[in-house]
Symmetry: C2
Subunit: 262 residues, 2 copies
Amino acid sequence: KSYLGVDVGSTTSKCVVIDDDRAILGMSLVTEGIGTEGSTKAVSEVLEQVGVRREDISKTVATGYGRKIFPDSDRKVSELSCHVKGVFSQVPEARTLIDIGGQDAKVMSITESGIMTNFQMNDKCAAGTGRFLDVMARILQLDVAQLEGEYFKAAKPSKISSTCTVFSESEVISQLASGEKREDVVAGICQSVATRFASLVMRVGITPTLCMSGGVAKNGGVRDALEKELGLQIVCPPNAQYMGALGAALYAWETEHGIIRL
Amino acid sequence: KSYLGVDVGSTTSKCVVIDDDRAILGMSLVTEGIGTEGSTKAVSEVLEQVGVRREDISKTVATGYGRKIFPDSDRKVSELSCHVKGVFSQVPEARTLIDIGGQDAKVMSITESGIMTNFQMNDKCAAGTGRFLDVMARILQLDVAQLEGEYFKAAKPSKISSTCTVFSESEVISQLASGEKREDVVAGICQSVATRFASLVMRVGITPTLCMSGGVAKNGGVRDALEKELGLQIVCPPNAQYMGALGAALYAWETEHGIIRL
Ligand code: SF4
C-alpha cells in the first residue's frame, strides 16, 4: 500500500509518497502553487516516479496554503502540523522548528513526543520571508538559488538599515549604484532576513535542537546568517522543502491505520 | 526683511519665504530630496521668484528628513514642529494634523494655542505612506497625480486584502490580469492607504478640526477614502505640501524676533 501527501504552497506544490513502513518512495516539486494546475502536476509526477496509479494510493492528505482547493484528498491537515510531523520523523531530537516559506515565516515548539505546543507566524509582512529574497534577487538579476554562492564570497557585508522590503529595495539599489560589490550586497540581504526572522523566533524562544524547513532552508546564506544571529547551530533535515508533504503523507498513513494525532 | 524656511524631504525639497508680517512672499518645490542638489535648487528658485538675494534673508530655518545636511541655516527644527506651526498658522482651529509623506506618515495632536502634545509616526513600513502609492502607480503605469481622477470614476472599488505593500502589489497585478477596471483597482489602492493609516490615527485619537498636510494631501482619492474611514471631514490648508517649509519660515521669523516656541 502507499500513501500520498500533497503540500500546495503559495509558490510551489510538493508531493511525497510513502509505503506501509513509512519509507519515502518518491517526491516531486512543481514551481507552481495555489490557483494553478501545480498540485495536479506534482501528483502526476510523483505517481509516475513511484510507478503507482492514482487509484492505488490508499489515503491522501493535503496540506499547505492551498489545501482547501485541492480536490482529491481524504483529509486536509494544517501546514503547521504537517511540518512538525515531517521534521520530527527525520530529526526526532527537534524541539524548535523554524520554517521560512515563499511568503510567510513560522516558528514552532515541539515536545519530546513530537507534539506542537506553541507557535508564532508572520504572514503579514514580506520582510523576513522568502518573498524578500525574491524581490532582492530580481533587483540583482540573479536567481534566488544563486544567492548562497554570492553570500559566501562576501568579504565586507553591506548593511541594510530598513526593515521594510520596499525601503530595503531602495537601499540595495543605491548600494549597487555606489559600487558596493554584489556579493557584499547579497550578504546584507541574507542578514536582513535573518535579523527580521530572529525577532519572530524570540517570541517563542528556542529549545535546541533547532531545525529548519521550508524553501528558504535551501539558502545556505540565510541559514548561516541565522545561526550567527541566534548563536545556535541549525539542523536541516534532508529534503527540507518536502517536510510539509512528508508530514501529510504520514498523516495519510495514520488515517489508514486509525491513529490520528494532530 | 524676509525669512526663509527650507523643508528637505525624502523625495522633494520645498521653500517658503515670508515677510515681517508673516505673509507668504513666495514658494518653491523641487522634486529632488535629500542627498541631491534639490534643496539648493529650491532655494535659488524661491529667491528668484521673490526677487531677494540670499544675503538679504534675515534668518533661515531648515526642517525635514534631510535638514541635517542642509548647509546654510540658522537653526534646524524637527519636521513635526514645523508642520504643526505651518498648519496652525493657516487653520487655527486645527486640533489634529495628519500628514502622509513620501515615505512616512504621522498624526499630531495640537492644543488651542498651537502646541503639539502627542504624536504617532510610521516610518518603518511603506504601507499607508506615499511610497505605497508610488509602487502602485508604477504597476498601473500611471503618474501618482492621475490616481485621483481614476478614484472618482470607480463604480465598484476593488478590495486589497494584504496590508503589506509587496503582497498588495501581487494582488493588484492579479486584479488587473483578471480584468478588474483600472479605476476600481485605483479605488482599492487609495482605500488601502486610508485603512492602514487610520489604524495609526486611532492610536492618537482624533479631536476635530482634522487637518491634512504632506504630499499625499493632494490626492483627493486618499483624502476621500480617509474621510469615510474616519467619519470626519478633513480640512486641507491651501498649499498643503508647503506646511513644513512655512512652519520653518515662521520659526525663522520667531528666531529673528526673539520668540521661540517649539
Ligand atoms: S514593512 Fe514593508 S514589507 Fe513589511 S508589511 Fe510593511 S510594506 Fe510590507
